[in-house]
Structure formats: C-alpha cells, structure tokens
C-alpha cells in the first residue's frame, strides 16, 4: 500500500518534471528578455518555430543534435526580429511579441505543408533522430531498493538529455544573472537603461545579447517538445505553454529560482489534472472533465490575482529606450 503510494508519488513527480521542462526553459528565456527590458509575449512563437526547425532538421539529418542546433538558430533568428522591432525600431513590445506568435503559427504550418506534405506536420521521427530517455547508471539495479532506489530509478533516472540540461541550466542561469558582469548589466538595463548608457555600456547591444539568450532557451524548449518529448512537429503544438511560462515568470517575480518553482507548480497542477480526470471525489462525485482541464488556467489566474499582488516588474521593461528622454 505504502509502496503503491510511493510509486504514484514518484510517477506524479516524474510527470511534473517532464511537463515542467519546456515551461522552465521558456520562463528562463523570458527572464533574460524581461530583465533586459523587453517584455516578451513572443516566447510561444519562438518555441513553436524552434520545435518546427528541430523536427524538420532531425528528420532530414537523422541527428537530434542537428535538430537542436537548428531549433536554437531559428529561435534566435526570430528573437532577432523581435529585438530589431523592439530595440532598434522602438516598436511596441507586446505587439511585436504577438506578431512573432502569429507569424510562427502561420509560417511553421505553411512550410511544413509545402515541404513535407503531411498537412502541416512533420514526418514522425525514428528513434535515432530523437533524444531518448537515458537510464542512469545503476538505475535498474537500484530500482528495487526501497524509497531511495525507487526515487532514483523513477524520478532521477530515465529522462532525456534536455531534461538534465535544463536542470543544469537553472543554477547556471542563476549564477549568470546574479554573479557575473553580464548579469549585473542585464539587471541594470531593465531597471534603468540611462544608467547603463552613461556607464559606457551600449543599451542596444546588451538587449540584443539578452534576446540571443532568450532565443537560445526558447529553441531548446521547442526542440524538447518536438524531438525529445514528442517525435514530430504538429501545428500549434506549444499550446499556450509560452504564456504559462510568462505567468510563472511574473509569479516568480523575475527571479530564476522562484520562477522555476512556479513552473513546477504549474506542471504539477497539469500532472494532477491528468490523474484527476474521471476520478470520483469524495462528496462531489465525478467532476466534469472540462472543469479539471481548466484547473491549470484557473490556478494561473488565481495566483496572479491573489498571491502575487502587484508584481514589480523590471522598471524599464516594456519601454523602448530613447536617449533623448
């Protein structure tokens, strides 16, 4: 009985981890953009284009690594379009993000349709072209060891390489933001770009670099969806994850670790959601599936409304930098 409960807990947490990965990556991507002063609702579009590029190139080359590289490259390219609009042309950042999203939805499908003739999807990938689950050393052997072995085999082991990459990235990003020159400048430029400018640092160059970081992480997130967790690109396969990631970022007050925790919370809600469907709750009976499916979204709204209060965004985010003001 206890064993079963443990197995269920491990399974739920492992599911949480898998669901959290794209959110965490996108959320950290958003962190770079927003800390630099660029509000980014275009995470969704960058991820989507990354997913498409990854699946296409992995299909053509047979190598997931080539796919990952392509995802990053395409996502960065889109981030540069975003950056050009927001930084160089000082356009409305939210509108630019929206444009990126719409463009990505349309372009991925049009190109997939034309290139692969599979109705806007890419062909299913064979195993060698995907990132497969990695069984860590001794996982099999330890699987029967109570508790720790179970957790090791079920939760720690058995993920694909992007999951581990993401876990490794969290402290790296945290360190980069708080302990490096780049991070110091990044945090400064989102708060007071004039201060950065007068300190002899180019605001535009800094923001472009932040957007490169943002694009990179979004690309990895996209690749995760299409060539690690999934095995092909489908139209609109990001399904709102970019927006959830943004909500998590706000909920995490633009700090890496709290944002990651918020992502885990959303992912947990999602994982629980899948397990609650059709389950009869004591006293309530079977809740309509749709009500349970709405749970993560409802949770987002409630968190934003209730617990965050007025989140203080980087002061300069959303405002194009204009020297003459």
């Amino acid at each position: 009985m206890i064993d079963d409960a443990l197995a269920q807990a491990v399974s739920l947490l492992a599911s949480t981890v898998r669901l959290a990965v794209p959110l965490v990556l996108a959320s950290l991507a958003g962190l770079f953009a927003e800390r630099s002063g660029v509000v980014d609702i275009g995470l969704e579009g960058k991820m989507l284009s990354g997913a498409f590029a990854a699946a296409s190139v992995a299909h053509l080359s047979g190598s997931p690594w080539a796919g990952l590289a392509a995802a990053i490259a395409v996502s960065i390219a889109l981030a540069m379009v975003h950056a050009y609009a927001c930084i160089t042309q000082r356009g409305n950042q939210v509108v630019a993000g929206m444009a990126i999203n719409v463009l990505a939805v349309g372009l991925t499908v049009v190109l997939a349709y034309a290139w692969f003739n599979e109705g806007g999807n890419t062909p299913a990938l064979p195993d060698p072209a995907r990132f497969k689950a990695i069984v860590l050393p001794l996982a099999r052997a330890l699987a029967d060891v109570p508790v720790l072995g179970r957790v090791y085999a079920g939760l720690v082991s058995g993920h694909n390489v992007i999951v581990y990459m993401t876990v490794a990235l969290i402290p790296v990003v945290s360190f980069a933001v708080f302990r490096t020159r780049f991070g110091l400048r990044l945090r400064a430029v989102g708060e007071n770009p004039h201060a950065v400018d007068t300190a002899g640092i180019s605001v535009a160059a800094l923001r472009y670099r932040a957007m490169v970081a943002c694009g990179t992480l979004c690309g990895i997130a996209g690749a995760y969806l299409s060539i690690a967790q999934g095995a092909a690109f489908q139209r609109e396969m990001t399904a709102g994850r970019g927006f959830l990631a943004l909500a998590a970022l706000i909920f995490g007050k633009w700090m890496p670790v709290p944002a990651v925790l918020a992502c885990l919370l959303f992912a947990f809600a999602d994982a629980v959601q899948g397990r609650l469907q059709g389950v009869s709750l004591p006293g309530i009976g079977v809740v309509p599936v749709q009500a349970i499916q709405a749970l993560p979204y409802l949770l987002t709204v409630l968190l934003l409304a209730g617990f965050v209060g007025r989140a203080v965004a980087p002061k300069a985010s959303g405002i194009p930098y204009n020297k003459e003001k």
């Binding site: 302990r179 490096t180 020159r181 945090r187 400064a188 708060e191 007071n192 400018d197 007068t198 002899g200």
Partner: protein, 510 residues
C-alpha cells in the same frame, strides 16, 4: 591659465530634427580650473555636455582632450578619455546596492567577485580622502539624495575621471551641502583636476568658478572671467535683455482661514513614512511657501492635499469642514468641486497629457463641466472655445488649440496648466514647482499671476525647491525636512542661512 586646455570643443553643432540645439560651439576649459556654464532652460547646456560625454553625436565639430583630438561617440570613449559626469537626474539603478552601481560598467572581469573585492578597497580610500562616506551595501533607493549624489561622484572618481562635469548638482542640496560640495570641487581644482559646472544659479557661478561661459539659444554668447563679471551682467547675457530679478508686491492682507492640515501622516507603497505629522494653515490672501530639499515629503504633502495620496493619519479641513479622505476615487473630483485647484509639480507626469491636443489637456479635470457639452457628450467646439480663452488670457503660444500638448515649450505648457487651474476661480491654489524647466520670461509671467491671485484674496500654497522663488513670492515660509515641518518663519524674518539650516534638519523649529 596657460598651457593646453583640458577640454576644448570646436565648432560643435547638433540638431534634433527641427531643433537646433547647439550652434557652432567653441569652448575651451583650462586645466585645473572650475568652469561654469550658465544659460536658460533649453539654451543647449545639457546637450553640449551630453556631446562631451558621448551621449549624443555632434553633427559637426571636434573635441580635444589635453590637446589631442578624440572621437567621443559613446560614453565609453569619454570615460576612457578621463571625462566623468554627474547627471542632474542621477543615473543610478535604484534596486542595486551602492557597490553594484559603482561596479556597473567597471566590473573588472567577467565574474563579479574579484572586481567587488578590488572596488571595496579602492573605494574606501577614495571615501576617506574626499569625505564622501556612503554605505557600499545599502540599496540606492534607501539613500537620501545627498548620499545618492555622493555615489554618483564616487562612480566618476572610481572610473578615474580627471575632468568632471556636474549638471545642476545643487538642485537637490541644502545650502550647507552645497558648500560642502563646493569645498570638494575646490580641492580637486587644487589637485589639478578640471571641473565643468552647469547651473542656472548665478550666485553659485560667482561663488566657485574661475571662468564662465554663457549660452543662449544653442550658441555661446560670452565667456568671461568670473572675477570680472556680475550677476546682473550674466542674467542679461542669458536672457538677451534686462531682467527684473525681484517680484514687486504689496504686503499680504491675510483673511479667513481657508486650509488647515492637522497631523497629516502618509506611508508610501514601500512602507516608508513620508509625512510624519504635518500641521499648518493657509489663509485667504496669502502665499504660504514650503521650502525644503526635494524628497523630504513636499510632493506627498501637496498630493495628499489635492486628494491624490491617501493619509495614514490626520485630517484636512477646508474652510473648517473636513474634505473627502484623500486617495479615494472621488477625492480629486470633490476637491475641485470645492474650488481647490492644483498645479502639479510635474506637468508632463500629471498636469497634462502629452499626446492630447492642447484643447484636451486644457480641460483635464474639468471634463465634466456642464458647459463643455450636453449630457454624456463632450463638444469639441466648446473645448476649443474654452482653450482659446485660456490661451488668450495666459499668453500661451502658439495659439493652436489643436496642437499636441507635447509640442508646446515648457513655459507654454506650464502657462496652459496654470491658466486652466486659475480660470475656475479657485479659493485655494496648491502649486508645486511652478517654474521648473520654464524660461525666464515665463517665470516673470507666472510669478506675476500668482501674486495677482493672492491680491484677489485667494489662498495659495506654494511648494518649491528654488529658495529664491520661495523668498520672492511667499508671505510665510514653512520648511520641510524628513516628513516634518522643521520650522516656520514670516518672510520678513527669513534669511537664507537660517532656512538652509532648517532644510538640513540641523536647527530646531523657530
């Protein structure tokens, strides 16, 4: 004054679109001197310094540092050439610590840890040498403005500046703090460093500089030896005509009490108590001036009185009756209905809407007036008519009600706001920084209208950081320090030294 100039600008020209901000400027600053630059708002001083600091690119002209031509196209170049700058609006990241602010742009490596240790040691030396104490680990947002300025100066020094440009450094200082700053500048000069001091306060120029350059409308009109000039001469050069430096007015004839504040307290969003029990009264037919260094609660006070900022304690009585609790949704509206008018400190932040046509800014706060349309509708012709009348009465130029508010000069914007508020015949006018960023001609006009309003028996509460303005307009002077009234003096009994001590929180209430 011999030798190669520390900084020399030749033929510097800069336009922003249609605005010709700098016209063929020649300027030579001698090594080891303090050089003043004066001029009205919009004369081009800040643009010129921005060019010297690499903030703007000149359209033409050359810059020499120590005789060598240098290409300064961004601040990095200026810093490398040994130029440092203390901006009028501090260039600090408020959420950062002092140390982080100083490190920004001079981190000393890709990782922060090493540079930090180095900076701590170096800064300790600098602070000791120049008496510039600040807590390196304090958050800038928690520092007072004087300390923030010290951070700015430390920043420039840490970057090895030999030529220091200070843009209106005394605007936020008490007279005593100003003296301290000037002592520091003098020490530098004696060490062979060079200082450029931009200000519009002529007394300061005369007190500290060696030479002074006067600018008007983007051009240099004169460069003089400070010892051989006078305040009147400089003022005339600045404006291009003779200027009345004093407002002439009769003695006040105070009437009934109009406004009474009792123990006002305000706590801001960050939990800092900005008003700590303010009590005073304003009577009909008098101008009460509130002096003080910026950031001591004056802004919060006038916004609370106007109904914008909520109170944590105390009450406000208007003609003996309590007003609606400030900060509530309808407080501003009801204040206006009682004929309490408010000219806010910052016209672009609050006084008008930059993107609106002048006729739309001219009804801000009065858009529910019955004569502006019937029922829920707003009649554009009615707003145009009213705006024309205001523009006529307050000499707003150009007289174009459809022109965007942002396209008027600061003085004309201010006249439009003042006109709008006076037009409704207020019982009480609350006015903050009425002449900030306004040219001398408009200052005279605005001062005149305030005195006229007083003479018409209205009560005026004037908040200004310009001691001169307070001294020339107020009938009674209150000094604010750290959220309290530090003292009250009748105009006749007030002198600058005493006010300065009160502003610094040194002297007790008189």
């Amino acid at each position: 004054m011999e030798g190669v100039p520390a900084l020399a600008l030749a033929g510097v020209d800069k336009s922003f679109g249609a605005v010709h901000a700098n016209r063929a400027i020649d300027l030579s600053v001698a090594q080891g001197s303090i050089h003043g630059i004066v001029g009205e708002n919009g004369a081009g001083k800040s643009t010129l310094m921005g060019i010297a600091y690499g903030y703007y690119r000149p359209d033409a002209g050359t810059i020499r540092v120590d005789g060598r031509v240098v290409e300064i196209s961004e601040p990095q170049d200026a810093i490398r050439a040994g130029i440092g700058m203390v901006h009028q609006h501090f260039m600090l990241v408020e959420t950062f610590t002092v140390l982080e602010n100083i490190l920004l742009g001079a981190e000393g490596g890709a990782l922060l840890a090493r540079g930090e240790a180095e900076a701590r040691a170096g800064l300790a030396r600098l602070m000791a040498e120049y008496a510039l104490e600040v807590d390196l680990d304090a958050r800038v947002a928690d520092l007072d403005v004087g300390a923030q300025q010290r951070v700015e100066i430390l920043k420039a020094l840490w970057r090895g500046a030999r030529i220091l440009i200070l843009d209106e450094p005394t605007a936020v200082l008490t007279p005593q703090e100003t003296d301290r700053l000037f002592a520091l500048l003098a020490k530098w000069r004696d060490q062979g460093r060079t200082v450029l001091l931009i200000t519009h306060k002529l007394r300061e120029i005369l007190a500290i500089t060696d030479r002074v350059t006067v600018m008007r409308r983007g051009a240099v009109v004169a460069t003089l030896e400070t010892a051989r000039t006078s305040q009147a001469e400089l003022a005339e050069l600045m404006v291009g005509r003779r200027v009345l430096l004093k407002v002439d007015k009769r003695a006040a004839v105070p009437g009934a009490e109009i406004l009474r504040a009792e123990g006002l307290r305000h706590v801001d969003a960050r939990g800092i108590e900005r008003l700590r029990g303010i009590s005073f009264a304003v009577h009909a037919g008098e101008i009460v001036g509130i002096a003080g260094v910026a950031g001591n609660g004056q802004s919060e006070l006038i916004e609370a009185l106007a109904g914008l900022k909520p109170l944590a304690g105390g009450r406000i009585l208007f003609k003996g009756a309590p007003v609606d609790p400030p900060g509530s949704a309808d407080a501003c509206r009801s204040a206006r209905a009682r004929r309490i008018a408010h000219v806010p400190e910052d016209r672009l932040r609050m006084g008008l809407v930059a993107s609106f046509a002048a006729r739309e800014s001219a009804i801000l706060g009065y858009h529910d007036d019955a004569d502006l349309g019937s029922g829920p509708f707003l009649d554009p012709d009615a707003t145009r008519t009213r705006t024309n009348r205001l523009m006529e009465a307050f000499d707003v130029r150009p007289r174009l009600p459809e022109l965007r508010s942002a396209n008027f000069s600061g003085g004309n914007q201010q006249k439009l706001v003042l006109g709008r508020e006076i037009d409704r015949d207020p019982e009480l006018l609350i006015v903050g920084q009425p002449t900030r960023g306004v040219d001398i001609g408009a200052i005279e006009f605005i001062h005149r209208r305030l005195v006229d309003l007083r003479d018409a028996g209205k009560a005026i509460l004037l908040v200004s950081c310009e001691l001169d303005e307070i001294l020339s307009l107020a009938d009674r002077i209150l000094v604010m320090f750290d959220g309290r009234i530090a003292g009250e003096l009748p105009r006749a009994a007030a002198d600058e030294r005493q006010l300065g001590l009160l502003m610094a929180g040194v002297a007790a209430a008189a």
